[in-house]
Amino acid sequence: MKQGPEVPMAHVVVPRTLAPAFAGLLRQGIGVWLPAPKPVRDFLVEEVGLELGYATHEIPGLFLNGVAVDDWENTLVAPGDEVALSGTMPGLAGIALRRQSPLRSFRSDLTVPFRSAAAVAGMVTLRPFNFVAQQAVQPLLARGVYVSGAELARYVEARADELGACRLMGGEGCLEDAMACWRQVEVVHLQVVWEE
């Protein structure tokens, strides 16, 4: 994890079998610290921690601030941006929205224009959907992400039945006990140790 903001830590031990229950948290949007603007591809590999091969072949849907990215080597991600990721997508719109789709002209009004960005650090919101959320949940949370304390508390509370076996790292406390504390803070750094 690169140098990010000083925020409370939420370090949690979770049985690996419960990983799918956290995919929804990713879909709501998680924070990834970006030291300086960089191309989308580099952001995914260096900051998010995805393998280049995986990102190339398994993430046909790539959206920056709601518009489809075709040239991921040159399109810059900057602090404050939102990056959404999707696995394979059916139908006309699905085909048209793919990166470098032969039908990308269908959404020619929805393509990222070239832009430059000031060299500042900050948070990027990442929203992996569908297969990407399922497949990236373990490496992403193991690496650590930033989430709203209130959102995290809400998310865990809503799944209290399912997530009963999760516990705080280095202590006896269960997740629910930590909720009251997290709920008060704007952002927490969530890191998960997956337990066999």
Binding site: P20, M89, G91, A93, F129, N130
Partner: protein, 573 residues
């Protein structure tokens, strides 16, 4: 293969050779029959109209995903020609009886009882319906109890019996439930006008299918399966989350029509997304994979259970979830599932009814986001409630009844789930398809593979018009084969896809059938449809999106429309 012609007035029938219709199937067959035999200026509910239920060219074969059904007639909703496409067991059962299509002709005297038509291997039986007035699930039970559980059904619900313009023909699925709809264009109203409640096929019939080149067909079929197994959309995407996987993605791209096409993003999208749907189904013991017919090897459908773990609905597609969800600002998946079930029960089109409910919201009859009120209003259709009669006639009719001026229809048919300002070639298709606003009329296809119309630049307006034309041709061809569009278009990424489809036809029929022939099949089908519509009185002025798409941009990207009537004409064959 034969055509079964049924006179609904005299309750008589005859089997006919294909004759001048040989070589056609599915949509090409329904549209040719309607164009040749139905006066274009007739009233859609009159004795002069006919309704054709046709299996695709490949339906008799064992080709995977070839069991889609075409239902065609002059539409009471659009006033033009219509082909409405559905899953269900009907298309694969017709050939077992030696049939490619059934044509219902003429109509009984006013006040005649509804009838059930039972098609057995050696005869056709006519009965006063045992299920008249019943909703489809109860009707299905009654029909099977009366005529045998081996029956495969096509039926109308109360909406069809009342001849309402949003009425569907419901087909039974592999589980024997009437969950599959030929939804668009009011085909159920035409069947209801002929006083036919249900057509039942005896699925124990087993007429042998003759292949001209059986070994060649097996090789082509194997390749077809191989293409599907290796394509990410058909091997992973569709079976994983179904078509509803698009909710989050289209929303992220700002193209998910929200609050009657005012916005391109819906704050509650995650709650109604394919991912949430799949998680909910898994928790409740439903099925995340289910085929709309037994020949489907992809299974993009699902079985959705309610909070108590009881069956609620199936065939819960992206369009339905969008329409009853984002477009009405409803965030509760259980409510949306109940709306889907209600539409199946009453026999009405989910896309049309979702837009109709948007009109009720525009008029202040119900509040935006009030799912329970939508369910209440939908349940009025098919009853004696006069409001139900209004709703059941669709979006434009309801808008007129309530003085609403923001009406998302083309040729009177309500728009589906992609905002045309964001995805332009879809918009061109909505505007120019002979079907009225219809997403499946021009589904995505890699035009560089099909090369229909040569290479075009979609970044120019005329490029998107050209692409739309190519897509409409390809779609008509695939509908005529009886293949599932979701599968067929996905696999067109694979250069083997189109030649493989042609090869399956050639080896089955024994007649030369090239990729060019496939394209000609689609183009000629469209020509039939455009010819009918021209004679029915349609002009280029009818090929337009509603005015508000011209005058309003779509947030968050603030994209507009901007095609003229003249520019759009290039999308027609």
């Amino acid at each position: 293969m034969k055509i079964l012609r049924i006179n609904t007035r005299s309750r008589t029938y005859r089997f006919e050779d294909l004759g001048e219709y040989a070589g056609l199937g599915g949509r090409a067959l329904t549209s040719r029959i309607i164009n040749r035999e139905v006066p274009a200026d007739c009233h859609p509910l009159s004795a002069e109209n006919k309704i054709v239920l046709a299996a695709g060219i490949l339906a008799p074969t064992t080709a995977a995903n070839s069991g889609r059904m075409s239902v065609g007639a002059k539409s009471p909703l659009t006033g033009g020609i219509k082909e409405s496409n559905s899953g269900g067991q009907f298309a694969n059962t017709l050939p077992k009886l030696g049939l490619l299509a059934i044509v219902l002709e003429d109509k009984p005297e006013a006040g005649s009882p509804m009838m059930d038509i039972v098609v057995r291997p050696d005869r056709v039986e006519f009965h006063d319906s045992v299920a008249a007035g019943m909703r489809t699930y109860a009707a299905q039970e009654k029909l099977l109890a009366t005529y045998g559980k081996e029956m495969v059904t096509a039926m109308v619900g109360p909406a069809g019996e009342q001849c309402l313009s949003a009425a569907t023909v419901q087909f039974s699925d592999p589980d024997g439930l009437p969950s599959r709809s030929a939804g668009r264009g009011g085909m159920g109203a035409v069947m209801g006008s002929k006083r036919v409640k249900a057509i039942l096929l005896d699925s124990t019939a087993a007429q042998k299918v003759e292949y001209a080149d059986e070994e060649g067909f097996k090789a082509a079929r194997k390749e077809w399966v191989d293409i599907m197994r290796n394509h990410p959309v058909t091997s992973q995407g569709l079976p994983g989350f179904g078509t509803a996987v698009l909710v989050n993605v289209i929303n992220a791209a700002g193209a998910l029509p929200t609050k009657n096409f005012r916005f391109g993003q819906f704050a509650g999208a995650e709650k109604i997304s394919g991912e949430t749907l799949a998680e909910t189904i898994t928790k409740r013991g439903g099925k995340t994979k289910h085929g709309c017919h037994s020949g489907c090897m992809i299974q993009c459908s699902q079985v959705y259970h309610d909070k108590d773990g009881k069956y609620l609905t199936t065939g819960f597609e992206y369009e339905t979830i969008w329409g009853f969800g984002a477009d009405l600002m409803v965030e509760d998946l259980d409510d949306i599932a109940m709306m889907d079930r209600t539409c199946d029960e009453v026999g009405m089109d989910t896309i049309e009814m979702a837009n109709t409910m948007a009109m009720a919201m525009e008029a202040g009859i119900i509040n935006w986001g009030d799912g329970k009120a939508v369910i209440r209003e939908l349940n009025k259709v098919g009853t004696d409630d006069p409001l139900g009669r209004i709703y059941g006639n669709g979006t434009a009719y309801t808008a007129k009844a309530f003085g609403v001026d923001r009406v998302p229809v083309v040729k009177n048919q309500a728009l589906p789930a992609y905002d045309p300002r964001a995805v332009k070639a879809v918009g061109v298709t909505y505007a120019t398809s002979p079907m009225g606003a219809d997403h499946t009329a021009g589904y995505g296809v890699a035009q560089n593979v099909l090369k229909v119309g040569g290479d075009v630049d979609g970044h120019k307006k005329e490029g998107n018009v050209e692409i739309s034309k190519n897509l409409q041709v390809a779609t008509a061809a695939i509908d005529s084969l009886g293949l599932c569009l979701f599968v067929a278009f996905a696999v067109l990424d694979d250069a083997r896809g189109v030649p493989c489809m042609a090869k399956m036809v050639e080896t089955y029929t024994g007649k030369p059938f090239s990729v060019d022939d496939l394209i000609a099949l689609g183009a000629n089908c469209l020509k039939d449809e455009l010819d009918f519509n021209r004679r029915a009185g349609f002009t280029p002025e009818d090929d337009q999106l509603p005015r508000f798409f011209q005058t309003e941009t779509l947030p968050p990207h603030n994209v507009g429309w901007g095609y003229t009537v003249e520019e759009l004409q290039g999308a027609k064959v």
